[in-house]
């Protein structure tokens, strides 16, 4: 039977192949799938596997606004997408983008929610009711008169969702809605999504934070290189394709990763692979753990690079971005700065590279007062990799980009420059793109080039990386972290600004926690996750691995301290 003709099916893809107009290879290849009414579907796959393309096909952005070659048939809510305009599909599909700031069309929160229904010519009284209902739903009723530009990251996502809900589409598609949010805000958005699901809305979700959804979703679609590798219930997919997913670099919940590794080692039957912390306690409760000791002892005693005392900074007379922050950073450390959006993390990094100067307190950088440094001179000591690496690029090819950094350090012997550029290209695995435009690289390669331009020539002693894992799958993250760890072995001090608690726990020896411009914690990640009041105050969340360890201990299982990664956990299992 033709799947799209069943009344139970809200959306269906039949033999869909799509090639973006500027690409040679297709982004989606012979995709067949169906989304049932009232179902909750997870769309999972490594970076570049075609997830966003699939989402944009559901509401007609592809092929109507972003052109390309489409074959096969996409049917949504009874409309053939290829023959229906985007604005007409707007009644059937609501798409929430990764960065909804760009979808905002007005100045005030309530006007923004009304924008869509107004376009559909609904009566004003009716819209007013829907606006109130949608804002209540996402918990933003009190902010309805606020300016959209003054909202926080979490509020922007919630407003985006309210704007989608007010149009009452039967299908809601969410493309990485929490990619740039702090852990607690991510959790709050997740709860909203789960509420939609429990109220019978049809939801398609792309996310790398699967922890809270694996047990809730009806359907999981695994994409790789544009093909549907598997689809079915999450449990079925994990049992049949879990190891393959790990191999592809898909982020899975840590308990699931542990379970899959144990299956691989023959220590656990595949039926017992847990999807949640609760299931993991059942599955691993009978294991004994070796006695281990805390393996990460913070390195101290290296040369003092940065010393901040009662540091203050304000952008204007009303708001203080930093309020009396004190800390030291020594040579050879790897430190993370964590805390909610707007806590002062970026301000701190700008102070460290000299882009802004302190408005109060003392800041000593590499033995000199911060006010005495010029940005260009400081660039020889400290490097900052921006969240959007494109902002840093200055040249027309990847090789020139690296050469520029060498020239800026006074290395101008052309032989020497060429040798060092080639060496760096090989090290980054981007030698084949030496002649490409930096803007044309893949997201992962751009990130690595961003790090490389900062470090080629070996000038900088302190490397600051803003959100290293943003928009990257597990494999790309591991590659970037390997690069960073190698640099560390060469004596470079690393400071990361991140929301990614897994990254903090696995790679960092020391975490500085910021909230409202103040430092509220400075210590090991292990100690941080054992201080629930700090975790809560800073909008953090322990990793599911930490929660698993706590739950096992609560059950009376003796688990050693310092199990900060999936590997360490498995290692400790007797």
């Amino acid at each position: 039977m033709n799947p799209s003709s069943s009344p139970d099916v809200l959306a269906a893809f039949e033999h869909v192949t799509f090639t973006h107009f500027d690409r040679a290879a297709p982004t989606l290849v012979d995709v067949n799938l169906s989304i049932r009414r009232g179902s909750f579907t997870l769309l999972v796959g490594p970076s570049g596997s075609g997830k966003s393309t699939l989402c944009m096909l559901l509401n007609g952005i592809i092929p109507h606004l972003l052109g390309g070659e489409l074959s096969g048939k996409v049917v949504v809510d009874g409309h053939d997408v290829a023959g229906t305009q985007v604005k007409d599909l707007a009644r059937s599909v609501g798409l929430l983008f990764q960065d909804p700031e760009w979808m905002f069309a007005t100045l005030q929160v309530e006007d923004e929610v009304a924008f869509g229904p107004e376009n559909l010519r609904q009566p004003p009284e009716e819209i007013a009711r829907q606006v109130t209902a949608a804002l209540d739903y996402v918990g933003m009723a009190s902010l309805r008169k606020n300016l959209v530009w003054a909202l926080s990251g979490g509020q922007i996502q919630k407003l985006g969702l309210a704007a989608v809900l007010a149009m009452q589409p039967p299908l809601i598609v969410l493309d990485e809605p929490t990619a740039n949010l702090d852990p607690a805000t991510t959790h709050a958005v997740h709860e909203l999504i789960l509420r939609l699901r429990s109220e019978g809305k049809t939801v398609v979700l792309v996310t790398k934070d699967l922890d809270e959804f694996m047990a809730e979703a009806d359907h999981l679609i695994l994409l790789n290189e544009g093909r549907v590798l598997a689809q079915g219930s999450p449990r079925q997919i994990i049992e049949q394709h879990g190891l393959k997913m790990l191999d592809l670099g898909v982020w899975l919940p840590e308990p699931t990763e542990i379970g899959l590794q144990l299956v691989h080692q023959g220590k656990l039957p595949v039926r017992s692979v847990p999807l949640t912390v609760v299931e993991a306690v059942e599955a691993f409760g009978h294991f004994r753990f070796k006695d281990g000791s805390e393996n990460s002892v913070p390195m101290t005693g290296g040369e003092l690079l940065v010393k901040a005392e009662a540091l203050e900074f304000s952008y204007n007379s009303r708001v203080k971005a930093l309020r009396g922050v004190s800390f030291e950073i020594h040579q050879g450390e790897i430190v993370a700065i964590v805390g909610q959006n707007g806590a002062g993390k970026s301000t701190l990094s700008k102070l460290l590279v000299g882009l802004i100067k302190p408005s109060g307190g003392e800041l000593t950088l590499f033995g000199k007062h911060a006010h005495a440094w010029k940005v260009q001179a400081l660039a020889n000591e400290v490097a900052l990799v921006f969240q959007n690496p494109e902002h840093q690029f200055l040249c027309d090819t990847v090789a020139e980009e690296l050469a520029y950094s060498l020239l800026a350090q006074g290395i101008d012997d052309s032989e020497e420059v060429k040798r060092r550029v080639d060496e760096m290209l090989a090290r980054l695995d981007i030698a084949d793109t030496a002649a490409s435009h930096p803007f044309a690289l893949s997201a992962g390669a751009k990130r690595r080039l961003g790090v490389a331009t900062m470090l080629v020539g070996g000038r900088a002693r302190l490397l600051i990386v803003d959100e290293p894992t943003y928009g990257q799958d597990r494999r790309l993250t591991e590659r970037l972290m390997k690069l960073i760890n190698n640099l560390r072995r060469e004596g470079i001090t690393v400071l990361m600004i991140t929301h990614d608690m897994r990254l903090v726990d696995a790679h960092v020896e020391r975490a500085i926690v910021m909230t409202d411009g103040e430092k509220i914690f400075d210590g090991t990640p292990g100690a941080l996750f054992q201080a629930p009041e700090i975790v809560e105050k800073a909008s953090l969340r322990p990793t599911s691995l930490r929660r698993l360890v706590d739950a096992l201990r609560a059950r009376g299982v003796t688990v050693p301290d310092g199990l900060n990664t999936v590997e360490a956990f498995i290692e400790a299992m007797a």
């Binding site: 606004l65 599909l89 707007a90 960065d99 979808m103 069309a105 100045l107 376009n119 559909l120 494109e390």
Partner: protein
């Protein structure tokens, strides 16, 4: 986050509460009258009146005005200097060393300075105090097709976006260090790159916005509904009348002089 100087300032002053169309009309009145003036004293008084409205009535922070003053006064000053040299004067006004300042050149230079700075200042006041959505609805109510009215909104919406982008790119470039030997070549290179990066990213963002707006049904029908409709305000009409009278008074005074 750095401060936005090219966007709406959330103050809720008397001027903020004036309806958008009256404000637009007011800007037109100010600009048209300024072009009727023959004397730079009138123009100067008009500029003072605008600054008075901005600082004391609209309560625009001085810092915001200071930050855009290169745009308001700097460019106008350059235009003024240019016209000083273009206009041939014959009545000596005063002499500094061997340089004689001519009356006609001085007058012409000043005229251009005031005209441009008044136009830009009035436009900024409109941007700082007006919810663009209201302006859009007002224009639609006057008979403009809504998609066309929206173009104005898009143009204004992108000013702060571009400003944010320029700030981000400038910071990112600053920490790359300097490769060229000469400071001038370095500067030139950076400027080229600002333009490239800002344009590429600006276009990408414009595209995302256009896509997002269309997927929310924008343009689905030739018209749309409005939850908040446009209403003329008494204060708006008074503002326009006051400036018409003020301009007329200055014109009469010029003629009598």
């Amino acid at each position: 986050m750095s401060e936005q100087t090219l966007a709406y300032i959330d103050n809720n002053s008397v001027i903020h509460r004036v309806d958008a169309l009256s404000k637009l009309l007011w800007v037109l009145v100010v600009v048209i009258t300024t072009f009727q003036f023959h004397d730079s004293i009138s123009r100067g008084l008009m500029l003072v009146a605008l600054l008075f409205v901005a600082i004391f009535v609209a309560r625009v922070p001085l810092r915001a005005i200071w930050k855009v003053s290169p745009l308001i006064f700097g460019v106008a000053f350059l235009l003024g200097v240019f016209h000083y040299f273009v206009t041939k004067g014959y009545t000596p006004l005063f002499t500094i060393g061997s340089f004689t300042v001519m009356r006609e050149s001085m007058e012409d230079g000043a005229a251009y300075f005031f005209r441009l700075s008044i136009m830009v200042m009035a436009s900024f006041l409109l941007i700082w105090t007006t919810d663009i959505r209201e302006l859009m609805v007002g224009l639609v109510r006057l008979g403009m097709p809504y998609r066309f009215a929206f173009v104005i909104f898009m143009a204004l919406r992108f000013l702060p976006v571009i400003q944010k982008e320029v700030d981000a790119v400038r910071s990112a470039h600053a920490i790359r260090g300097r490769a060229a030997r000469s400071q001038l070549r370095h500067r030139f290179r950076l400027w080229q790159r600002y333009l490239f990066t800002v344009i590429v990213n600006g276009l990408r963002k414009a595209e995302s916005t256009a896509i997002a707006i269309e997927s929310r049904g924008f343009g689905a029908y030739p018209d749309r509904t409005y939850v908040k409709d446009f209403h003329w305000t008494v204060s708006g009409i008074l503002l326009v009348i006051f400036f018409v009278l003020f301009g007329a008074a200055l014109l009469v005074w010029e003629r009598l002089l």
